[in-house]
């Protein structure tokens, strides 16, 4: 296996069309249990460092003035009293002559935006001024001393109001023609024809109220200038995009002069990186750090973190045509969404991905209102999972059918049946397996479906509560679009391997996973691998640790490990050096690379494993004037010598964003609830997750995404809702006392199960799991509640008040 062959493979696999043509024979570290997570001790001891922990000598704090109104323009601003406050080191105003009208401030790629706007389009928007002071306390004090004359404008808080013909404009600067930014269309076939052919047609509307991500570490950053060169500490998911944007600031900073640190991140769940104002604070901090000669840190307060929501907020209108046997003939799913920052998906995509429904029409309206921007919050598929679960389960309920039978009847892809899907599996070189059925087999047994599923409202318990059980299913997804770079170096002295890639840790234990893949591919012991937590190595994995962890970076690691192994074996069989005095013979003379292999970090001759050499002995010591020079001088070789061994690799793929790519792995979930009909209180007593992840890299990390996503999903389903005052447009519950997320006591037993059909587009047939469960679980509460009380509640979250309303008690 030559190095050139390996490079050829990378090119060949650019979009994974041919899947994995070079499968691994033995899974040793991959899929193994009880592998110690690399970040464990650091995190458990509290010594893991996050950007919010960073303190530098002489550091100042930056805070923004925020708009008290949902829509208002600054007519006049007096900052003189704030400037005079002792401890204030500078105030950056929107009309500062040095501030450009627009700068590249992120989004999906650098986007030209005003660093400090003059007009606020939502209450709480950073607007008008940024204060830099010795302490956060002084900065807060200074903000109170700024006098602003605001001109208030009419505002809108909900999508239906915004669509009315006489509605005021929510965002007249960028959308002067109306509040409907754009309407996306998705679908196939002819729904009207489908409705006509169907035995039955039903229509209903559902609503998802605004919710948000609540990242434990708040949005923050630090910047320092070292002479002409800036140094950044970032809390973001896409450092590569940040660096690209930063380089465009200050009339272009060369990329090689920007130093970036990505410490551990107190989770981001998508979100912030995609907000148009996400880099505004960093830009202002950079200006003020330059101006004051001090490092500057910005930290949003907890309320500030609430001004970014999930892009499933809005109203959903469904019309479904289906036959009496459970086969769905047509789905119309219209989504009216508030403030999505980018196209995203939904609400029709999962019908395309998972079903043979022949007719689909799923228009998606992007509507502007005067609330914070909404974006992917673990994750952008939320509109889809909501639409998919409600439609599937509602059809089953209408027919009195087992929802599992409805699932099996409609499983397919892009309007085609399972036979068609099997052909696609074969085309992609997979060995076809029926993922849904395999998941169902495990899931039904785990939850006891046959015994527990009952007619709606028939599950009265001895304690007076109503028992309900719900089921949903979906495909397993990862947004495997993008490119990832990884490098590996065989260390001198001990022959361990450092994986080099910019950290962007969100907690999914990715770094350990990369080491497992590399160890397995290289034939090394797990303890000999380490993911270097370098700040900016220059190698950016794609969205590391979020959407495309296994799907893209897993490939890059695998390619790189194979390249490194090829180089190691070449080095072991090649002359180590040629000098004036002659040639230093190979460590394995008269051998070819293919005669050797590596196991447990030891190179051995395949035909005679007693001939072996540890990697530590292969690499020899570092520097020390060079073992070769020693030999040249004294005539004896004190240490063995080999060439430096380093490999660099990448993976680039289009993933699911260009056209349709069939997904073959499925997931199923069950939820049991107990509802108190007197108080409306819902208790989630049991959840079963079964995920076909294709191939497990780390069983514990997969399970972590299952139970972790379940808790997040349960909180979203039961109580997560950002409330705005309709009279003033002011957010009313931007804190964790009034906005509840799930605690340990909000969900009882969670059973997690994994299926491995090896039909994913990641390495070894793996597919992602991190986004899925938190996204699928919220809507599952709908059918569970219906099964308990016999009434559908279409307003999420499903609060006790909404339960009592459905029961006609209030």
């Amino acid at each position: 296996m030559s190095v050139q062959t390996e490079y050829d493979r990378m090119i060949e696999m650019e979009d994974n069309v041919g899947f994995d043509k070079y499968p691994l024979k033995d899974f040793d570290q991959i899929g193994k249990k009880d592998i110690r997570r690399l970040d464990g001790t650091e995190k458990a001891s509290g010594r893991a460092e996050y950007t919010m922990d960073v303190q530098l000598p002489g550091m100042l704090y930056l805070k923004f003035l925020t708009s008290p109104y949902p829509h208002a323009e600054i007519k006049h601003m007096d900052t003189s009293r704030a400037e005079a406050l002792p401890g204030v080191r500078g105030i950056l105003r929107y009309d500062d002559p040095e501030l450009p009208d627009v700068a590249d401030l992120g989004g999906h790629g650098p986007t030209a935006i005003a660093p400090i706007p003059k007009v606020a389009h939502f209450e709480g928007e950073p607007t008008g001024a940024a204060v830099v002071a010795d302490t956060e306390h002084i900065a807060d004090e200074a903000l109170r001393l700024i006098q602003v004359k605001w001109e208030q404008r009419p505002f809108l808080l909900n999508v239906e109001e915004a669509l009315k013909p006489d509605a005021p404009l929510a965002h007249p600067e960028d959308f002067p023609d109306g509040n409907l930014e754009v309407e996306h269309v998705e679908g196939h076939g002819d729904v009207e024809k489908g409705f006509k052919e169907a035995d039955r047609v039903l229509e209903f509307k559902a609503t998802r109220r605004l919710h948000t991500y609540v990242s434990p570490e708040r949005p923050c950053g630090v910047v320092r200038w070292n002479g002409d060169y800036p140094e950044f500490w970032l809390k973001h998911q896409r450092p590569h995009e940040n660096k690209r944007a930063i380089s465009s600031w200050f009339e272009h900073i060369p990329m090689n002069r920007i130093e970036m640190h990505m410490l551990y991140q107190g989770a981001t769940f998508g979100g912030w990186t995609q907000f148009y104002w996400n880099q505004g604070p960093m830009y202002c901090a950079a200006v003020m750090a330059k101006r004051t000669g001090h490092p500057v840190k910005y930290v949003f307060d907890r309320r500030g973190d609430f001004y970014g929501g999930s892009m499933d907020e809005g109203d959903y209108y469904f019309k479904v045509g289906f036959n009496n046997d459970g086969r769905i003939l047509a789905v119309e799913a219209k989504g009216h969404f508030a403030n999505p920052q980018w196209e995203g998906f939904g609400p029709g995509t999962h019908f395309e991905d998972n079903t043979q429904i022949p007719n689909l029409n799923a228009p998606r309206m992007v509507i502007k209102v005067n609330k914070g921007p909404n974006t992917a919050v673990r994750c952008e598929h939320l509109p889809n999972t909501m639409a998919f679960t409600l439609v599937m389960d509602r059809v089953a309920a209408e027919l009195g059918m087992d929802p599992i039978d409805v699932a099996i009847k409609n499983d397919g892809a892009k309007g085609h049946d399972m036979e068609w899907l099997t052909e696609r599996k074969e085309e992609a070189d997979f060995t076809p397996r029926d993922s849904l059925k395999e998941c169902l087999e495990k899931g039904k047994a785990a939850v006891g479906w046959e015994d527990k599923w009952h007619p709606p409202g028939a599950g009265k318990l001895p304690n007076g509560k109503m028992h309900g059980i719900g089921f949903t299913w979906n495909h397993e997804w990862d947004d495997s679009c993008g490119s990832g770079e990884i490098a590996m170096r065989l260390e001198r002295n001990d022959g361990t391997v450092s994986i080099l890639g910019m950290r962007c840790d969100n907690g999914v234990n990715a770094e350990t996973g990369y080491c497992q893949i590399a160890a397995n591919e290289l034939g090394m012991r797990m303890e000999d691998l380490f993911y270097r937590p370098h700040t900016d190595t220059g190698f950016f994995p794609m969205c590391p640790d979020s959407s495309t962890n296994t799907g893209v970076n897993g490939w890059a690691v695998r390619h790189c490990a194979r390249l490194l192994k090829a180089k190691i074996l070449e080095a072991a069989t090649s002359p180590r050096a040629v000098t004036q005095r002659g040639m230093y013979p190979p460590l394995f003379p008269d051998m070819k690379p293919e005669d050797l292999d590596i196991k447990d970090s030891v190179i051995f001759v395949k035909a005679d494993p007693s001939q072996k050499l540890s990697l530590a002995d292969l690499v020899g010591p570092s520097a020390e004037a060079g073992p070769l020079s020693f030999h040249e001088l004294y005539g004896a070789e004190r240490h063995p010598f080999s060439v430096p061994i380093f490999a660099h690799s990448y993976q680039a793929q289009i993933g699911c964003y260009a056209g349709f790519r069939p997904k073959f792995c499925r997931q199923v979930h069950f939820m049991e609830v107990e509802i108190d009909p007197e108080t409306g209180e819902i208790e989630v007593t049991h959840v079963v997750n079964v995920n076909d992840v294709g191939k497990v890299i780390s069983p514990e990390s997969c399970a972590g995404q299952q139970y972790g996503g379940t808790y997040m999903g349960v909180g979203r389903a039961l109580f997560e809702e950002v409330v705005h005052d309709p009279a003033t447009g002011v957010m009313l519950n931007g804190n964790l006392l009034d906005y509840k997320i799930a605690t340990i006591e909000d969900c009882q037993t969670i059973d997690t199960h994994l299926v491995e059909t090896q039909q994913g587009y990641g390495p070894y047939g793996a597919t992602g799991i991190g986004e899925d469960i938190a996204t699928v679980i919220p809507a599952l509460l709908g059918p569970a509640v219906y099964n308990a009380i016999g009434e559908w509640i279409y307003e999420f979250p499903i609060t006790p008040e909404r339960v009592l309303k459905a029961l006609g008690k209030i």
């Binding site: 001790t41 458990a44 551990y264 907690g507 997040m712 964790l736 340990i744």
Partner: protein
């Protein structure tokens, strides 16, 4: 009647004196051998076994003191207002929220943080690593301190008791199911250790 203010005040006992010499004589006789009095705002703390004498401002929270001033990064600011448990430290054997506690009120207290619990080799830390009772890790030190305080007062907690004890600690990644497992394992190890004695 206008109150007369005394010129000199004994820093030990606040007795008033008109002449400096009188104060000096008083201090040398009445307070002979006593350690120097503490200036206002000076507090003494024992943190993870180390003794500190620190001048604090009245508005400083204990979290600000420990995290920002002393550089112990484990008490984390998450919710910002006593709603999440991430800033929990153990003070005088009780888990408390360091963001809601004024440093100046902690004079004479003994405090443990996650760093100290880890350095003491408490089995909780290893059990947390083994059971993946962390993901992003931001809230983890707050769980470790809460769990340590629980084990100190209840060496063999049942799952229900653990869930109740951790009810005030938020974890956005949802690592919750792993905590009772880790804590019960640590409890078992501690039991064995004590049994061996």
């Amino acid at each position: 009647m206008e109150e007369q203010t005394s010129k000199y005040l004994c820093p030990y006992c606040s007795t008033k004196f008109e002449a400096f010499e009188d104060l000096k004589n008083h201090a040398l006789t009445a307070h002979a051998g006593e350690p120097a009095p503490m200036p206002e705002g000076m507090i003494r703390l024992t943190i993870n076994g180390d003794e500190y004498q620190i001048q604090v401002q009245p508005e400083w929270t204990l979290n600000y003191l420990i995290h920002d001033k002393l550089g112990l990064t484990s008490p984390k600011m998450f919710c910002d207002r006593g709603a999440c448990g991430s800033c929990t430290v153990i003070m005088n054997e009780r888990p408390i929220l360091s963001c809601m506690t004024l440093a100046i009120e902690c004079d004479g207290s003994t405090i443990e943080t996650a760093e100290g619990i880890a350095d003491a080799g408490h089995p909780l830390v290893e059990a947390y690593v083994k059971h993946h009772a962390m993901q992003c890790g931001y809230c983890t030190p707050g769980f470790i301190t809460t769990a340590k305080a629980l084990l100190d007062r209840n060496p063999d907690p049942k799952e229900e008791e653990i869930r109740e004890a951790l009810g005030g600690n938020l974890c956005r990644c949802g690592t919750y199911p792993q905590h009772p497992k880790a804590i019960m394992e640590a409890a078992e190890k501690l039991g064995h250790k004590e049994g061996a004695k």
